[in-house]
Amino acid sequence: MANRTVIPFGPQHPVLPEPIHLDLVIEDEHVVEAIPSFGFIHRGLEKLVEKKDFTEFTFIAERICGICSYIHGMGYCQAVETVMGLEIPERAKWLRTMWSELSRIHSHMMWLGLLADAFGFENLFMACWRLREGILDVIEETSGGRVIFGAAKVGGCRRDVPDDLLARIPAQLNAVEDELRAITNVFRDDFSVRQRLCGVGLLSRNDAYDLGAVGPMLRASGVAQDSRLDGYAAYDKIAVEPIVEESGDCWGRTMVRIREIYQSFDILRHVLPNVPPGPVDMKITGAPKGEFFARLEQPRGEVIYYVKGNGTKFLDRFRVRTPTFANIPPLLKMLQGCQLADVPVIVLTIDPCISCAER
């Protein structure tokens, strides 16, 4: 049938807080085709390595994305440190782990809220974001900032966290976790939520693998892959079990992220009492020479930072390969044949961070 509606979806669109654009071709409400368009927030910040020296560039790296800002900064630092052959202090490694996990929790909770908003469950959105403030409080107490808190630094951390504060955090986290149970139960069991998530946006294990999906996308399709197993920061001393779901639909991806929140709580409960004493940063001399990449697990999946130094203060090349970028091909695959009402839900289940993808 030729009864196809062609409409632009975005760049300004209320369910996509970030500007991406899809040419949606729909028949009744079935999406026949979705052609994406990017570049609305391309900043070209990789090019900025030519203007900012490698220590200063940490701030730029943190602003690749405001949600997983810390992990971006830390990943960049880690790549530079490897190139320079620095072994950072142990305490810094543990603190980095703490902040990564806090970032993961806040990012996932934020995502849960946005997902709820996408399928029109306003109350759930509010509930998720209300609890998320509790995590942001912890982040603010430990670092001084809410979303972009600038705690990463080449050679360690920019800030130390007092031990009495570290001792206080688990109680705060437990309070959040207790309340969160009620909310995640809704995602798991509620009739209307399941109607909107189960069987929507199916991505088979093979497709997920072939199309190069990463992170919760990949794990929800049954592939056990988690870069934290590589053991960066303090992850080599923590047992991290990749969280896997077999269903491969939006509900599976939601479940993966929910279980990861609880997993992060567990990790934090293990990390916080075990942060060793000592300094949190070290003095840096010289400049990076050579090239290397760091591979980290972001809330959205695997991220790769490539750094090439030439021995001067200014890097030759910096490159990020972000998880959202990797998840776009599976997204397009999932969008074909879905309902118009599913478009926001499916777009959101890749947890899109367009700022990351376009840099």
């Binding site: 009864n3 509606t5 975005g10 052609i35």
Partner: protein
């Protein structure tokens, strides 16, 4: 038996079209003569019908005693001639089933005629009562306007369909034969005569549907013939039954004898009516009839053919009233109404939407007539009137629109209001007439719901669901015409004067009827109902008042467009996610520089898919008919 004075008009209405048909068959080869004859004919028929209406205002039914053996012989001869023609057609088209049906009919009629029982005698073979007059008005005025339209339309048709051989001589002759048969059908009191007219309309519909002689047209023409002949067999059986039981073949006496004795023949005739009115499971012939030129569709759908089917229902309503058979027929009608309305949602071919809507509305009429209480019959008659006018207008307007935009796809009518304002207005009025308060169809639908409540509540429930589906597809279509997304592509061809005239008059009629229906109801419908039921439902004056207010409001609303005081209005680009290009409906796509927005309506095929619902409807109606057969035979 009253005076013979007014007998001339009905006779004239029957014979004049036949005469014209003959004339056209002789001299119709000449285009000028043909169009002149057709115009004179259509005008005369319309004026004749109006004159009949005028002379019979407030009159009782009149019967024309006309007892002549040669007349019966003549009718018999004509019947044999029609049967032979049909047989010839079936043999030439290699249609054994049709031949079998014709032979079955012939056998039944022969049995009735010479079966060894007393020859039934009808003292007054023709009659006029207010129902006949209303039907004659519809046939004469609406049919006449359609013929008028056809005079202008057919040359365009042949211009667009160059490969179709020009056989307009036969075309116009068949149409007038058709009209004559329809007049005979509504004036006949002798069931044998009625049957003859019945078969002639079947024959004419075959000729008209197969006009273009394409394989598809021929196939659909045979389909129509086959299904209608099945009904014809039932009709013939009814006549045989009456003849064997020694009853009277006079329609008025059959009706008067009541449901105790006449239920079985009435059920058989109504079964024939179902086929002619294209009720499920016989609905497919009407959809197939879409291959014919638009005036033929208009004729078949609005004033003739299908209306013959519901006419017998209304006639026999007193017999069906308060019987299980009546309830079952009502259920068949309601089921058809529901399914046809739902299927129409999934159609994007304008003529198919109209066809399904016709099937649906006839279902509603059948339902009302089968319930047969006085209010239901009132609703049924009003539905017949309003439907004929609005549907004729719609078919003619869609036909003209098709010629000017080159497509009968509803999606291609986007923004027709800007491209062809008058044609678009005609379509809009027609659609509004079909389903919107306070237009005619809604008035009668409302009466129908009230009347059906007195029958069985399941009927109005089905009607409620069906009418919400009609709301969907009509509004969708109106919206398409009104939505101005694309620029206006240049129209194809001009619309002829005759087409404009016909559309104008039908448009005025559609709107005008909303204002004058209380008058028609009291002058024509009331006498009929009083004679049949001895009662009449008076309408609540307050309701009529509020309907009039609504009509006035709707009429006044366009005036607000004339008010140019809105200088503060800023025309902005539509919301396109911020991706607008400065022109109105272009946006910046992913690939390429600009792309137009395309907007298409919903067809909801996954729920209202044609094939699925047709099957469901057929099964439901067949089951009901099976129950009906069991009920009737026990």
């Amino acid at each position: 038996m009253s005076s013979q004075a007014t007998m001339h008009l009905p006779l004239f209405l029957i014979l004049f079209p036949l005469l014209l048909a003959g004339l056209l068959a002789l001299v119709g080869g000449n285009a000028t003569a043909r169009s002149a004859l057709a115009k004179v004919g259509s005008g005369t028929v319309a004026i004749g019908a109006l004159a009949l209406y005028w002379t019979t205002l407030h009159r009782e039914a009149q019967f024309f005693a006309w007892d002549a053996v040669w007349l019966d012989r003549a009718v018999l001869t004509a019947e044999i001639a029609v049967a032979l023609t049909l047989l010839l057609i079936s043999l030439r088209g290699r249609q054994p089933l049709i031949a079998l049906l014709v032979l079955a009919q012939g056998a039944l009629m022969a049995l009735a005629e010479w079966g060894g029982h007393a020859h039934p005698h009808v003292a007054a073979p023709l009659f006029v009562d207010s129902l006949s007059v209303i039907m004659a008005l519809i046939i004469g005025v609406v049919g006449g306007l359609i013929v008028w339209h056809a005079v202008g339309y057919m040359p365009h048709y042949h211009h667009h369909e160059a490969q179709t051989p020009d056989r307009q001589r036969g075309f116009f002759a068949s149409i007038f034969l058709f009209l004559g048969a329809m007049f005979a059908l509504v004036f006949a009191n002798h069931l044998g005569w009625l049957f003859l007219a019945w078969e002639v309309t079947t024959l004419c519909s075959y000729l008209l549907i197969g006009y273009s002689r394409t394989p598809e047209a021929t196939r659909n023409a045979f389909l129509a013939l086959r299904l209608n002949l099945i009904g014809g067999v039932a009709f013939a059986s009814a006549i045989l039954y009456i003849a064997r039981t020694g009853g009277s073949l006079a329609l008025n006496e059959v009706v008067a004898s009541g449901s105790a004795t006449a239920l079985i023949p009435a059920a058989l005739i109504c079964f024939a009516g179902l086929a002619k009115a294209a009720q499920m499971p016989f609905s497919s012939w009407l959809l197939g009839a879409m291959v014919a030129p638009s005036p033929v569709s208009a004729l078949l759908h609005s004033s003739t053919m299908v209306k013959a089917g519901v006419y017998v229902f209304v006639r026999l309503a007193p017999i069906l009233q308060d019987t299980l058979v009546g309830l079952l027929f009502a259920l068949v009608g309601a089921t058809t109404f529901f399914f046809a309305s739902c299927i129409a949602i999934s159609q994007n071919n304008a003529k198919r939407v109209l066809a399904y809507s016709t099937i649906a509305n006839l279902g509603l009429i059948v339902t009302c007539a089968s319930i047969g209480n006085v209010q239901a019959v009132w609703a049924a008659i009003l539905l017949i009137i309003f439907h004929a006018v609005a549907k004729a207008l719609l078919f003619l307007a869609v036909g003209s629109a098709e010629h000017s935009i080159g497509s009968r796809d509803i999606e291609d009518m986007e923004g027709l209001i800007a491209r062809r304002p008058k044609t678009a207005l005609a379509i809009l009025i027609g659609i509004a007439g079909m389903f919107l308060a306070p237009f005619g169809m809604l008035v009668s639908k409302w009466a129908a719901i009230e009347a059906l409540m007195k029958g069985h509540p399941i009927l109005p429930v089905i009607v409620a669901f069906g009418s919400s589906a009609t709301l969907f597809f009509w509004t969708k279509w109106m919206g398409k015409i009104l939505s101005t997304v694309k620029g206006a592509p240049p129209p194809h061809g001009p619309v002829s004067m005759e087409e404009k005239n016909a559309m104008f008059f039908l448009g005025v009629l559609t709107v005008g009827l909303c204002a004058i229906w209380p008058f028609i109801s009291s002058t024509s419908v009331k006498p009929f109902l009083l004679s049949q039921f001895g009662a009449f439902v008076e309408f609540n004056r307050a309701t009529i008042l509020i309907m009039s207010i609504m009509l006035a409001l709707i009429a006044a609303l366009p005036l607000s467009l004339l008010y140019k005081g809105d200088k503060g209005l800023r025309i902005a680009t539509p919301y396109l996610g911020g991706a607008n290009v400065s022109e109105r409906h272009l946006f910046t796509p992913s690939i390429g520089l600009t792309k137009p927005v395309a907007i298409r309506s919903y067809y909801l095929t996954e729920i209202f898919g044609e094939r699925r619902l047709t099957r469901a409807g057929f099964i439901a109606c067949l089951a009901l008919l099976a129950i009906l057969t069991v009920v009737v035979s026990t």
